[in-house]
């Protein structure tokens, strides 16, 4: 594994569209070639090297390439967008769309991220040590095919609209989640270890949600069916088991109607 270190030494005035910052794009390129890759500040296209100092060359493939970002990347968007392999470590905060449409590899953000991170995710791992804003692991606007696979872990809190149209994969939120979780979901798992605000599982067809704390305003479309003991994220606990959203269409499998499951910790 070869490491490319980007240090933000000349911060932008506007936000930077950094979709070229991926192991896929850095692989097979020398430091100078990486510094020449395009980024956009507003509608102006500039080389990456205008803002970042670049040290180290990319590996032969994405898989063998690790990118470390230093400096305050609060204004850098789309890092790791559509990446398929390799690793990215962001030492501080980052902006929106981090790990969007990610297919593989790993991103570790040591600070906070803004909205739309991990949207349209198909695979790989997105780890955030701080908080995430809205639309975490959600589907892109208009799209009914949301998160398909992979894992998102946020140690802190998440904003609104987590996992909209989720079809697969897992999202673990260590803290609290605001309104709208797994809206229109048709698969996948969301685990909220803190409290959820409300509208949990609205129009959900299939899939699982776990809430360890309280749901301040639960939806009437979910009905409690039993109590179960389950292993979740490596620990076993007892949960109240609800099915729903009873106002939505539900497929049948082997003669039985399939519902979405909502579990709240007892």
């Amino acid at each position: 594994m070869k490491t490319v270190t980007l240090t933000l030494t000349n911060p932008s005035e506007l936000f930077i569209e950094g979709q070229n910052i991926t192991p896929d794009n850095f692989a097979g390129r020398k430091a100078a070639e990486i510094a020449a890759l395009d980024v956009w500040e507003g509608k102006q296209k500039s080389p990456l090297g205008k803002y970042f100092t670049v040290e180290g060359d990319g590996g032969a493939t994405a898989e063998e390439t690790k990118i470390v970002l230093r400096g305050d990347c609060t204004r850098v968007k789309r890092i790791g967008q559509q990446m398929t392999a390799g690793e990215i470590v962001i030492e501080g905060n980052a902006d929106m769309y981090i790990g969007g449409w990610m297919k593989g590899g790993k991103i570790h953000v040591k600070g906070n991220v803004d909205s739309f991170c991990g949207i349209g995710m198909e695979g790989g791992e997105l780890i955030v040590d701080g908080n995430a804003a809205h639309h975490l692991g959600s589907s892109p606007r208009g799209e009914w095919r949301g998160m398909q696979g992979g894992v998102i872990r946020v140690a802190g809190n998440a904003g609104n609209d987590t996992a909209t149209f989720i079809n697969g994969g897992t999202i673990v939120i260590g803290g609290d989640a605001d309104i709208h979780i797994s809206t229109h979901g048709e698969g996948g798992t969301v685990i909220v270890k803190g409290n959820a605000k409300g509208r949990v599982g609205g129009q959900m067809v299939k899939g699982d949600i776990y809430v360890y704390g309280t749901i301040e305003n639960p939806l009437p479309g979910f009905s409690m069916v039993d109590e179960v003991e389950q292993e979740v994220d490596g620990e076993t606990a007892r949960f109240a088991h609800y099915i729903g959203d009873l106002g939505e269409r539900h497929p049948t499998s082997k003669g039985k109607t399939v519902y979405a499951n909502l579990y709240t910790k007892l």
């Binding site: 892109p140 606007r141 208009g142 799209e143 009914w144 269409r249």
Partner: protein, 570 residues
């Protein structure tokens, strides 16, 4: 004085019966002229290439409110699918199945098309239609207002008042700057306002108590009474359902006994659009099958009918139609998002995304049904290539449709990707058809035929002196056609040259110039009709949400008009 000569190409012009002769085409001041009329022309060398008139699309949904709903509610149709700005074009392009107005104009031009007939204009929203026409570069546009569920039309035809209906029709064509009479699910879209549909052509419309059959016949009589350039343009009842070929045959038979009356060279009284969606057998999705043969046998035997294909292209696309109940039905099948609107006294509309997948049996049967229409056609001057853009697929797939029609190998190649190949072959005749269409037939189905059916073949669709100098040159040598069908598709996707109104517009597949585009509409002069004037006044007073004064298109909405005049008072 701009002069141009396109030298030494293989010319295909069905309107003049020219079948690939090596000829020079001369252009002067935007018109085609005799070569002897030129003094010092600029030369385009078309040696080894195919020369045709600019393409004419008889049925495509490119402008107006429902197209825009499609654009607005499908941002995912643009995501990662929009090219950055072409260095040779003025405007940004975006969208795949519902492209922006700019991309629409550029992409049609790149394929060598110059005229596109917007297939459904809700009259109340005609200003929106015309604003988007203005913003669609290069191509000339016409738009057909919808009549098949209009309260005026239903009332006049119920009482068999053809002359009054004709006066109202003339008024509405002028009010909307419309081109011809579109009919969508006659009666059914009005019934949708009551949450209902018309199950067949004899099922009366709620309240109005008139049947779809009576509406269609009344509109054919109205159309021929007025002598309009185009015929009634029908999207018939029961679209998209197994077994609907029976309704289609019944709808086609409504034209029996009617002869065209017009001064525009049109020979049909009924154009039945996107026939693919109307040629299904079986009584469920389980035994869904092609009945194209039955329908095309009828079409082939009746000269007063024209049709277009509505070819399924096996893409993810966006369906949009004034057939409101159909879109509701479609949404309940695929569970994707649905937009629905009611347009007061006039029509309805719905929009639903749809994925035609080679893995789904119904979709691959639909693909075969469409191609069978083109391949069973005895008269390519009456059978036109369309995808009912974007309903069965985007218009940018025309080159692929042409290739499927021209090459059995191309069809076989596509069929290899089908999950249910055997069942598709069993349910259709596609595998037993070896026919491969030639360039002359393609020219008939994409320019000469549609232009004639639209009644505009004095201006568009041909290369005779006096016509608009709209000329497409394709890098295809008819004496040495490529063995790889992909090369045919490539040639039709990006024409070598497009001359529009005598201006070099596309060169090597890139738009290099954006000549002025036009709005083509039909202005019909009818005798004063006090009763119809009073009916219009009354309906606007009682039922419309807008005042009569604000309804008709304002002149500033009309972009660069080309008026076709019809005078019924003589």
């Amino acid at each position: 004085m701009s002069e141009l000569i396109i030298k030494n190409g293989f010319v295909f012009d069905p309107l003049q019966g020219i079948k690939g002769d090596r000829m020079d085409i001369a252009v002067k001041d935007g018109k085609i002229v005799e070569t002897s009329a030129l003094s010092s022309p600029k030369t385009i060398d078309a040696t080894g290439m195919t020369v045709m008139a600019g393409g004419v699309d008889i049925h495509s949904h490119v402008v107006g409110p429902k197209v825009n709903v499609g654009r607005l509610f499908r941002p995912e149709d643009k995501l990662f699918k929009s090219p950055h700005k072409s260095p040779t074009c003025n405007r940004m392009e975006m969208g795949f199945s519902v492209p922006s107005t700019f991309k629409t104009g550029y992409d049609y031009a790149r394929m060598g098309y110059v005229f596109v007939n917007e297939a459904a204009m809700p009259p109340l929203h005609s200003p929106h239609v015309h604003e988007e026409i203005r913003d669609t570069p290069i191509i000339d546009n016409a738009a057909m207002p919808v009549f098949g569920n209009n309260w005026f039309t239903l009332e006049y035809l119920k009482n068999n008042e053809i002359e009054n209906n004709a006066a109202y029709t003339a008024w509405l064509l002028r009010a909307t700057r419309g081109f011809g009479l579109k009919v969508v699910n006659p009666g059914g879209s009005e019934a949708w306002g009551w949450g209902l549909n018309c199950a067949n052509i004899h099922d009366p419309v709620p309240y109005f108590d008139i049947t779809p059959a009576e509406i269609v016949k009344g509109l054919i009589e109205t159309n021929e009474f007025l002598g309009l350039p185009h015929s009634v343009h029908l999207h018939c009842n029961n679209l998209g359902n197994p077994g609907n070929y029976v309704d289609t045959l019944e709808s086609l038979k409504l034209a029996e006994g009617y002869a065209p009356k017009n001064d525009f060279g049109r020979e049909q009284v009924l154009h039945l659009t996107h026939l693919q969606f109307h040629s299904y057998g079986g009584d469920s999705w389980g035994n869904f099958e092609s009945r194209t043969k039955d329908v095309m046998d009828y079409v082939n035997a009746h000269d007063n009918i024209t049709v277009d294909m509505g070819q399924v292209t096996l893409d993810e696309t966006t369906t949009m139609t004034a057939d409101g109940p159909f879109e509701h039905h479609l949404c309940s099948l695929n569970h994707l998002k649905w937009a629905n609107v009611d347009v007061e006294l006039e029509t309805a509309a719905g929009v639903v995304p749809y994925i035609y997948s080679p893995k789904v049996k119904v979709c691959t049967i639909q693909w075969a049904v469409g191609l069978e229409i083109g391949l069973y056609a005895k008269d390519p001057m009456r059978t036109f290539i369309t995808t009912d853009h974007p309903n069965a697929g985007p218009f940018t797939r025309y080159p692929q449709v042409i290739t499927w029609l021209m090459s059995r190998a191309a069809r076989d190649e596509t069929m290899k990707t089908f999950k249910w190949l055997e069942r598709t072959i069993d349910a259709t005749s596609i595998d037993s058809i070896d026919r491969e269409l030639g360039l002359y037939e393609i020219a008939q189905m994409t320019r000469a035929g549609p232009a004639k059916a639209l009644g505009i073949s004095n201006t568009y669709g041909g290369l005779a002196p006096g016509m608009d100098a709209d000329i497409a040159v394709y890098a295809l040598n008819p004496e040495d056609m490529p063995s790889d069908p992909a090369m045919i598709e490539k040639a039709f996707s990006r024409c070598a040259w497009l001359i529009k109104d005598g201006v070099v517009t596309v060169r090597d597949g890139e738009v290099v110039e954006e000549p002025a585009k036009r709005t083509v509409w039909v202005d019909v002069k009818v005798p004063e009709n006090a009763q119809v004037q009073r009916d219009i006044y009354e309906h606007f007073l009682r039922h419309y949400s807008v005042k009569l004064d604000n309804y008709s298109l304002f002149e500033e909405h009309l972009h660069n008009p080309r008026v076709i005049e019809v005078d019924t008072t003589q």
